[in-house]
């Protein structure tokens, strides 16, 4: 009974699955990775009890006797061994008693195993679930354009994740930390009968972003009341949902002001990055909107300052407003159109950043709302 896998493919799978495994855990088996042979594939599974990830790789050589074999090995050691092996080798694994023998050329490793039966698995999602499909590129884009706004504050767990709001004609990905909000609305046709809003934890979203890097297939979402399952042919991720009520995000997406500035995205992005070098430790930059121009200023406590002027299509009244430069840069990175719009009211209320015009050909809409800083 022998399991043969190409090192390159196995290491890719191990790297993905290792992402969910916590280095410090109370149960030794949670630090292990579950290896299971099924048909012509080797499945690797990792969990931290809140997020479970299953990823598969094809076997280099199929051994009928190995079908159904499963065991668990320490994730970190397995990864380190695979990393240390030559790039294009084939790894052979043979389970024996309480050890997994790993052979590559003249190298031989014997890794201690724990019974696969003891490996914890997440419970089933239950019956009342909602299923829909999204193309991987669009999903990746939606997550990339919103994930930066998720909160890292442990005190408000309900913000430490992404809200997925599924409606009959669209699905919304919303992230906020209370000071800024990013929302991507993806139009889709589905037979969903009722809307459902869930909060997916930070860790699961980041893991999903990694999984989507090399995926072009459709991704299936199955949403239960306490868990979410995201899968396609290559991976399956199950995550617990965050309990709690997500804030009413729609109320902050309403445009308060009518002063709109249209700016070249890249010019603005670069200017903010440059000026922010001499900002305070709070990364404050001030934007002065006046007809046809925007001045970007920053100064720090040592008296140093930076200023830059860029052209803008703006006809409103003069507005001075300060933002955290990091918030601006995160939002500007997510805009992929040549021009962008900023909708302002005054220097004390929220501003809305979005692509210049929603492209009719595209089925998604994105915006970012940022609260100014009081100076």
């Amino acid at each position: 009974m022998k399991i043969s896998v190409k090192r390159k493919e196995l290491i890719h799978s191990l790297a993905i699955v290792n992402g969910v495994i916590e280095m410090r855990q109370v149960m030794p088996i949670i630090g292990n990775i579950l290896l299971r042979v099924s048909g012509e594939r080797l499945f690797c599974m990792g969990t931290d009890s809140t997020v479970e990830l299953l990823h598969s790789v094809p076997l280099a050589k199929v051994d009928a006797k190995a079908d159904g074999m499963q065991t668990t090995v320490p994730a970190r050691k397995m990864m380190d061994i695979c990393r240390s092996l030559p790039d294009d080798c084939v790894i052979e694994m043979v389970p024996s008693d309480n050890f997994l023998q790993i052979k590559v050329g003249s190298s031989h490793f014997s890794l201690k195993t724990l019974p696969a039966e003891d490996f914890p698995s997440m419970p089933e999602l239950g019956e009342d679930t909602m299923t829909f499909l999204l193309p991987a590129p669009q999903l990746r884009r939606a997550l990339e354009q919103t994930h930066f706004a998720m909160s890292k504050d442990d005190m408000r767990q309900y913000l430490k994740g992404m809200c997925i709001d599924v409606r009959q004609d669209n699905v919304r990905f919303v992230a906020t930390d209370g000071h800024r909000l990013a929302c991507d609305i993806y139009d889709m046709k589905s037979d969903i009968q009722e809307a459902r809003q869930v909060i997916v934890p930070y860790k699961a979203i980041n893991q999903l972003l990694t999984l989507l890097q090399d995926n072009t297939d459709d991704i299936t979402f199955v949403i239960g009341h306490k868990q979410i399952k995201v899968h396609n042919d290559h991976f399956t991720m199950i995550s617990n949902l965050i309990e709690g009520k997500y804030p009413d995000y729609e109320q902050v997406m309403v445009k308060e002001g009518n002063s709109v500035a249209v700016i070249t995205t890249e010019l603005f992005h670069q200017a903010v990055r440059r000026v922010a070098i001499l900002s305070t430790e709070q990364r404050l930059v001030q934007l002065n909107f006046s007809p046809k121009t925007v001045h970007i200023d920053a100064k720090n406590t040592e008296g140093e300052s930076a200023t830059e002027k860029i052209d803008a299509d703006y006809t409103g009244s003069e507005i001075k407003i300060a933002f955290n430069a990091n918030y601006l840069i995160d939002a500007l990175k997510a805009i992929h159109t040549e021009k962008m719009c900023i909708t302002l009211n005054d220097g004390n209320t929220r501003s809305i950043f979005e692509s210049e015009k929603p492209d009719e050909a595209k089925s998604s809409q994105w915006l970012c709302v940022i609260m100014p800083v009081k100076v």
């Binding site: 005190m155 408000r156 906020t176 209370g178 000071h179 800024r180 909000l181 804030p247 009413d248 902050v252 430790e281 709070q282 955290n324 004390n348 209320t349 929220r350 709302v369 609260m371 100014p372 800083v373 009081k374 100076v375």
Partner: protein, 334 residues
């Protein structure tokens, strides 16, 4: 502006300042004042409170950022800064800047221990006196506690005879939390029509003290406390149990006295007597210096006769135990 704790409710009827500093060491008033302030902030529109602890490592920059940044979902915020260790130079600068320019639509509540004289001279605190409400709860002196009990009793719907209030003040020893708990318990069964008497209070007192607290009081030579505890536990404990522990402790004291005569250090005694803590040995040494071998012998003999009295007669032994304790609990040599 300085706001006395008892005037806080009145102040909040018409005012809500951008900053309140609640600085003191008296837990009951601290808890009640902070609750009052929170309630007012919730009434003013705060939906949540943001708590920041100045535990190490506290990022003053991030905290300042949080205060300066408006919130998308809250038009008004309550932010609490729990000062758990002395404020460092950066913290003082940040606070000072904030006091000069507090964020609109936000109430900052700074909660911490009483400030030292040097801390009171810090620029941030001087600036706070201009824009903030400073509330400094202080412990209530034992002589003023009966009046405080009577006043607090009124709010709970119970009245006290002065003697009863004084007794309650004595048994709670100025601890306001304990006094407030006792009042809450009394309020549950009190008859609002008749004032509480001394008898009502004693009848309501449940197991407040342990025999070990009695022994500690006696060893420290605190006779009034010893008697108070003994009279309290006399209602709940059997005299044979209390007497047994007193006699055991007197024998421990006698042992330590012998070690002292041999010139052994505390560490050496501790090595011989595994059951005796270092602090206990020091305490027993102190009280041992107030006794002679003869007086210890007399104490043990007296304990033995009380033991016989308990086992052979129906006479209450508590007066005798009290006398034994008075003779034992000394601060000066005879």
């Amino acid at each position: 502006m300085q706001i006395p704790p008892h005037s806080l409710q009145r102040h909040l009827k018409n005012n809500l300042l951008p900053v309140y500093c609640l600085l003191g060491d008296e837990p009951l008033q601290m808890a009640e004042c902070s609750d009052t302030l929170r309630t007012k902030c919730y009434q003013a529109g705060a939906s949540d409170r943001h708590i920041h602890n100045t535990d190490s490592p506290f990022q003053w920059d991030e905290w300042q950022n949080h205060l300066q940044h408006g919130s998308l979902f809250e038009s008004y915020r309550l932010t609490e800064l729990h000062v758990t260790k002395p404020i460092n130079a950066q913290g003082r600068t940040v606070l000072s800047a904030y006091m000069h320019n507090p964020a609109p639509q936000c109430t900052l509540l700074i909660i911490g221990n009483a400030l030292t004289k040097a801390e009171k001279n810090a620029a941030w605190f001087k600036a706070a006196q201009e824009c903030a409400g400073i509330i400094i709860p202080t412990p209530i002196h034992l002589s003023k506690l009966p009046a405080w009990i009577i006043q607090r009793g009124k709010t709970l719907g119970i009245s006290f005879q002065h003697e009863a209030a004084q007794y309650l003040a004595e048994i709670t020893e100025g601890n306001l939390v304990a006094t407030a708990q006792a009042l809450d318990q009394l309020a549950l069964s009190a008859d609002s029509a008749t004032p509480m008497t001394l008898h009502d209070i004693t009848a309501h007192q449940s197991a407040q003290y342990t025999v070990w607290q009695l022994l500690d009081a006696a060893i420290s030579g605190n006779r009034p406390r010893t008697i108070r505890i003994l009279r309290q536990i006399a209602h709940e404990r059997s005299p044979i149990e209390v007497l047994g522990l007193i006699a055991y402790q007197i024998r421990q004291m006698e042992k330590v006295m012998r070690y002292d005569e041999q010139g052994l250090s505390v560490a050496a005694i501790s090595a011989h007597e595994k059951n005796m803590w270092r602090d206990k040995i020091i305490a027993l040494q102190k009280i041992g210096q107030c006794h002679s071998r003869h007086s210890v012998y007399q104490l043990l003999q007296r304990a033995q006769s009380i033991d016989e009295m308990i086992k052979t007669t129906t006479i209450s032994p508590w007066r005798a135990i009290e006398r034994l304790c008075i003779n034992w609990a000394r601060r000066t040599p005879t």
